[in-house]
Symmetry: C2
Subunit: 463 residues, 2 copies
Amino acid sequence: MNIAIHLHKDSKEPVYMQLYHYFKTEILSGKIEAGTKLPSIRYLASVLQISKNTVIDAYQQLWTEGYVESKEKSGYTVVALPSYEYTTTQKKKAEEPQVEHASYSLDFHYGDIDGHNFPINAWKKTMKSVMEDNPSNWVKYGNKQGELSLREELVGYLYRSRGIKTTANNLVITAGTEHLIHLVLSLMDEKALCVGMEEPGYNGVRNVFKERGVPIQPIPVLEEDGHDLSALFNSDCNLAYVTPSHQFPIGKIMPITKRIELLKWAEKRDGFILEDDYDSEFRFQGSPIPSMKAIDQQDRVIYLGTFSKAFMPSLRISYMILPDVLLEKWNGRSKMDSQSSSPLLQQALARFIQNGEFERHIKRMRKVYERKYAILTQCLKRYMGEKVEVIGEKAGLHLVIRVPSKTDESCIMEAKRIGIKIYSTKPYYTEKKTCYPLLLGFGGLEEKEIEEGIQHLSRAWFI
Amino acid sequence: MNIAIHLHKDSKEPVYMQLYHYFKTEILSGKIEAGTKLPSIRYLASVLQISKNTVIDAYQQLWTEGYVESKEKSGYTVVALPSYEYTTTQKKKAEEPQVEHASYSLDFHYGDIDGHNFPINAWKKTMKSVMEDNPSNWVKYGNKQGELSLREELVGYLYRSRGIKTTANNLVITAGTEHLIHLVLSLMDEKALCVGMEEPGYNGVRNVFKERGVPIQPIPVLEEDGHDLSALFNSDCNLAYVTPSHQFPIGKIMPITKRIELLKWAEKRDGFILEDDYDSEFRFQGSPIPSMKAIDQQDRVIYLGTFSKAFMPSLRISYMILPDVLLEKWNGRSKMDSQSSSPLLQQALARFIQNGEFERHIKRMRKVYERKYAILTQCLKRYMGEKVEVIGEKAGLHLVIRVPSKTDESCIMEAKRIGIKIYSTKPYYTEKKTCYPLLLGFGGLEEKEIEEGIQHLSRAWFI
């Protein structure tokens, strides 16, 4: 065998690795053929003027990875590899430039929250104290059901804020609502499952149903009359996904009559209701709308909550209340799941709720968002007047509007031209329409930006 | 109507809410019947000696929630509710006591990592700097694909440590491997999918396949010969899940011949290989085994990595490299997903890799675990000798052993009696066996604990 190897003894790479790489490449490229005997350790060490141990280490690594086999007393022999086009010159892939985002000066993006009134210092202090108190917890996966401290704080919070009576045992914490839906589906007989889903409705959740092949029965949500439950009641569905406190995206509140009808339906069907209470903290007139879970007498409601709107999306902490019968199933299979939400952040949040900071924050933010909401609706009235229709309740972090004289597409294009990003509600519909209402998220914008934005949009659309 | 309401003007609950609750409860319980007219605002205000606005607020809330309807000039009328057994006396559910864990003095739990050598201060400093630099990022959901800063650092790390040439564009970050598998499945035609899965193999991943109804073809992993790929090659599978660097749980390394055969199989089948490289950082003899992805010429390998073993599980950060063809599909549907891993922690980790702390930590930990591994195997030899068989390579954070004279169940019971927790490999098998090997995780135990543990186990089992 012809050995043309140049060892760099000053290289950062150990000599045995250089030797190993040399043989590996030669074998992979076919230059050293199957059946070839590697030079003896003694011989190679003397030719290359390296120690025998260096050669042994290289040969060992080749042997471990299966490039050579070792036969007693006859040294190492190259194995026969299946032919595989292997180029040693494979270049590091060029990084494709990240898609450039059109530059917008204002973005009515839904899901952004207010950054200026965030209790940065209180949160940093809490994080610091948790990191100092429990360093041993960092090295653990965390409770599969979610940190007990957070579940216990949630029990109190849900009782105070949503009238819900539950236990830490019934709570399951994960990273994000989509993940909760995956979990719920895994507790059900998916083959016998059919789900009623708001139309329009939250596409993130609908997507999970679609992905898992669950048949979907639309529950139409009308701008005037809200949920039309008749199609659901006439269907074979045994699960219904609803956002009763503030329907997403339309904004309707489900009245008590329909809530009771839905609860009775679930009982009769031996089914469940997924109540997604994503933004109920922020209602600007009167009190927050009570949750369905609070009046659920038969344990038929799976309540879904999140800290993404009320606190901060970057925590990635969502939770659900499982009815006892589903909890039992969860206990049966939970050993296989790992917790997806960081236990470190969960512990910090538990402490933040415990010391009252969280509810103080919510109270403060309700006023902040109320003002933004008021400014947005006032500006729409002042600058656009009759030319737009405002849809939805005095709540949440978004508003739906319709511009009867234009399509959503042209509204969006005209806004883009002046550097303002607005959104269509199209993704929330499965039904094809010629034109969809528009969605204005206002949580992340400053009051001044909201006013300027609407003023400029009015000019772009109507002048 | 008989109004028997006692208002507490000193209560924390606003008077209008007390009034609202009174009516709501009376209506729900049927004490105020459908069709009943609520007292006029003026009348009720004067009777109760409260302001008219208080009454208006209460009535408004009742109206918003659909308990009453308002007819022009005739005030508010109670709506007809479907009958629903509603008890106002529903007690707050008693908290069930959390399942008490048997008290173990030693736990050979797999997945725990070393807590004593964790770079607590360096990590705290990094977290602090990230929190101070980017407070505006807290209020965002974070990049759906994962923070760009972390993906960029990963490109460098994967090249340096695993010989992988990829781009930040091809990387997707989520919270946990199970989540990655869900994502991968959503990019494929699930109806045409059949997956080859190691037997025994990681149950967390197998469970996702099962849950989603993907047919599974076992790939037997033999203690002597490792992966037996023939069943896979003769099947209709077009996806294969493998842990080639350190098979979980058996510990075998897949030799280069089989790797190439598998790569060629994927190419021929137009299929993909899921390479789960969960603990490749920790190999104690020779160099880390190269990844399959590093020799994947046809972009057929979906590479899965995690920071749970190499750094800390509580971060909940896993990642994968998507082949270009899957990346395109991901781009097409990614708008619907939200990022499940905290962007705050991702940014801190990116900085930790960038300033070299992460790789210094890995280097340190390799030595720590190497010592623990050495002590574990030495003690097994010293105290148990021929009575146990040690299976697996000199790598990772766990070891598989077999006690030929006993069943796994009796080993576990006898260990429990002396306060030591050990585990069966049973959950990783689908095949029923009369007896399974045992799994000893040693990452989270101190050297002294390992020695004591094995000494005590030896006494419990063999004396």
